[in-house]
Amino acid sequence: MNKYRLRLFVTGHSANSDRAVSNLRHLCEGELADLYQLEVIDVCENPQAAEAERIIATPTLIRALPPPLRRVIGDLSDREQVLLGLDLRHVEQLPPPPE
């Protein structure tokens, strides 16, 4: 089941790009197990994709699903910010269900 659909825009194999990819894989495996689908897009290869999504900064991570669409930028090294930005915190810290 692909609950989360993530798209990561990077530019070639720059230090930022590679760091972002590895940070994201790490995080997804830890938090989302098999609930996600990840697509890595190299804008150097595919400028139209960047144009369509109006990407300016790289790396940019977009949570395409579930809605609403959310985006964060940077190499994803600040784990807390990533979880906040993707609205994933509840996966980690779900409040105990009411009795």
């Binding site: 825009f9 530019t11 720059s14 230090a15 930022n16 760091r19 972002a20 940070n23 804008v43 150097c44 400028p47 139209q48 960047a50 144009e51 109006r54 990407i55 300016i56 900064a57 790289t58 790396p59 940019t60 991570l61 985006r71 964060v72 930028i73 940077g74 190499d75 994803l76 090294s77 600040d78 910010q81 990533v82 906040l84 930005g85």
Partner: protein
């Protein structure tokens, strides 16, 4: 070319196509480089950037890429539609391409680590190559800084961007915000990384009047005009720069005389006005300025010339009624195609707008003579400096067309006195005619004198004139009155005049 600068000027220029700007930029913006256009809010930066691309498409078939950080592409398309540019059409034919980098509604940017503007660079590069762009506009840098809270990264990235643009060989305009009209070049010190060329746009409030100016602060390694030049925004055209003080005194002079419309005045001027001269008629209210300009027009029409009357004090109907009171039929003149009367409120625009309109009327109607009644009315809507520039611009344009111009100016006091208009423009005009009230034995009489007549001998007398249903009639000189021009006419006994005459004869003899 005999211009000594051209030979040493190795840097190519790209014509902006913006009217008047290429003149002061001595050809245009340095090609293949980035020019920073800085200005406070509302100075016309976005229009400048858009027009740089639009003129590229319209005049030089050069495609352009517009990168927008602030307004959305849709907003810009709509905003410049009022200028008559069909951007959507150009987009369809790949002459114009937007890179929309404006914030999306509801977008908040969360920064999770180190980043760069690689995607933007890739997008710009891809679009430039796709449409073969020669020009790029980036509006505005301030918005990028505001959006990403990481000045250091943005600074580095914009430097990378300007290097990349240079490599692509495109000529670029970047806009940046300023916080004050006369202070730091730009808010985020962007000039530190796009330092080659800087243009500053200003919108200064001077004596309750807005005055837009453009100044080329620097062009590295190439020449440009110095100082601030006024500009205005015209519908259908966009920015129009008035390079007034750049005008050269290279008009040809003519010895051909034309009639003033009044035979006696022609005689006083030594045979009429010169065909390509500018004449200032100065006088207090009601002493015959409008009549003088009416005679000037009627004289022209009678000689088979075409005349343009720019009126800023009275409506067309009022002028026509006045003229018929002096036996001149404006309606008939207009029907014959010999006259065009354009009446406007001075307040209907800034002086730059008026100048452009007068010029376009002249270009359209192609008159042999132009009368402006009155310049003083126009002075109300401007600052002294702005007014002076306006008169210089108008005078040199009229002379360049080799036509005659007659301007009227109102003096503030009834007797004697001079007008502000007069003091500011008297050196620019070729001839000055003074109309003055003369108080004589409890009666107001009118006097006329030719104060200055460049390039010709002229009558030095102050002559009396009267006005009737046929127009102006100039009579003999005021022989026994002195102090007319000073505004204190004094009657001098005939014996005293004879004594003075003899005194001079003895002196010279």
């Amino acid at each position: 070319m005999s211009d000594p600068f051209i030979e040493y000027d190795k840097i190519q220029k790209t014509s902006t196509g913006i009217q008047g700007l290429d003149g002061i930029a001595l050809g245009g913006l340095p090609s293949g480089r980035t020019t920073l256009v800085a200005g406070t809010a509302g100075t016309g930066k976005t229009v400048f950037a858009a027009q740089f691309l639009a003129e590229g498409v319209r005049q030089f078939q050069e495609p352009g890429v517009f990168v927008t950080f602030e307004e959305s592409a849709a907003d810009i398309r709509r905003n410049v539609a009022s200028l008559g540019w069909g951007i959507a059409t150009w987009e369809a034919s790949d002459q114009w391409c937007f890179i929309d980098a404006s914030p999306q509604p509801g977008e908040e940017i969360l920064i999770t680590g180190s980043f760069d503007l690689g995607a933007l660079l890739v997008r710009i590069e891809a679009s430039v190559k796709r449409i073969g762009a020669k020009r790029v506009a980036i509006d505005s840098l301030g918005a990028v800084f505001a959006r990403f809270d990481s000045d250091l990264i943005i600074r580095n990235e914009l430097f990378r961007l300007s290097t990349a643009l240079k490599r692509l060989g495109v000529t670029t305009v970047m806009t940046a915000e300023r916080t004050s009209e006369y202070g730091a070049i730009s808010r985020d010190s962007v000039e530190e990384f796009v330092t080659d060329n800087v243009i500053v746009l200003r919108n200064v409030l001077e004596e309750e009047k807005r005055r837009r100016t453009v100044e080329i602060l620097k062009f590295r390694g190439t020449m440009h005009g110095k100082g601030e030049f006024p500009f205005t925004m015209m519908p259908e055209t966009g920015i129009v720069v008035l390079p007034l003080t750049e005008i050269e005194l290279d008009q040809r002079s003519s010895y051909k005389r034309i009639t003033s419309g009044i035979a006696e005045l022609d005689t006083m001027c030594g045979g009429g006005f010169f065909r390509d001269s500018v004449i200032l008629v100065s006088g207090a209210t009601g002493c015959g300025k409008t009549l003088t300009s009416t005679e000037f027009i009627a004289g022209g029409v009678a000689a088979g010339e075409r005349c343009l009357l720019m009126a800023f004090e009275e409506s067309r109907d009022q002028l026509s009624r006045n003229a018929s009171g002096w036996g001149k039929d404006f309606d008939q003149f207009e029907q014959d195609g010999k006259l065009r009367v354009v009446a406007r409120y001075p307040e209907s625009g800034g002086l730059e707008d008026h100048l452009i309109r007068i010029k376009s009327e002249i270009m359209e109607f192609r008159p042999n003579r132009v009368a402006v009644d009155s310049l003083s009315a126009l002075e109300r809507v401007s600052t002294i400096k702005g007014f002076r520039e306006f008169v210089i611009g108008l005078t040199s344009f009229i002379k360049a067309q080799e036509i005659a111009g007659l301007f009227t100016a109102t003096t503030s006091s009834l007797l004697g006195g001079d007008s502000v208009t007069e003091t500011h423009i008297s050196t620019i005009t070729d001839s000055i005619i003074l109309l003055r009230y003369v108080e004589m034995f409890g009666e107001m009489q009118r006097g006329i004198t030719v104060l200055k007549m460049r390039g010709s001998a002229h009558d030095k007398d102050i002559r009396a004139f009267n006005i009737d249903s046929c127009g102006m009639h100039i009579g003999p000189a005021f022989r026994n009155v002195t102090g007319i021009l000073a505004g204190q006419p004094r009657h001098v006994p005939t014996a005293e005049i004879e004594r003075l005459d003899q005194l001079f004869q003895q002196g010279t003899g």
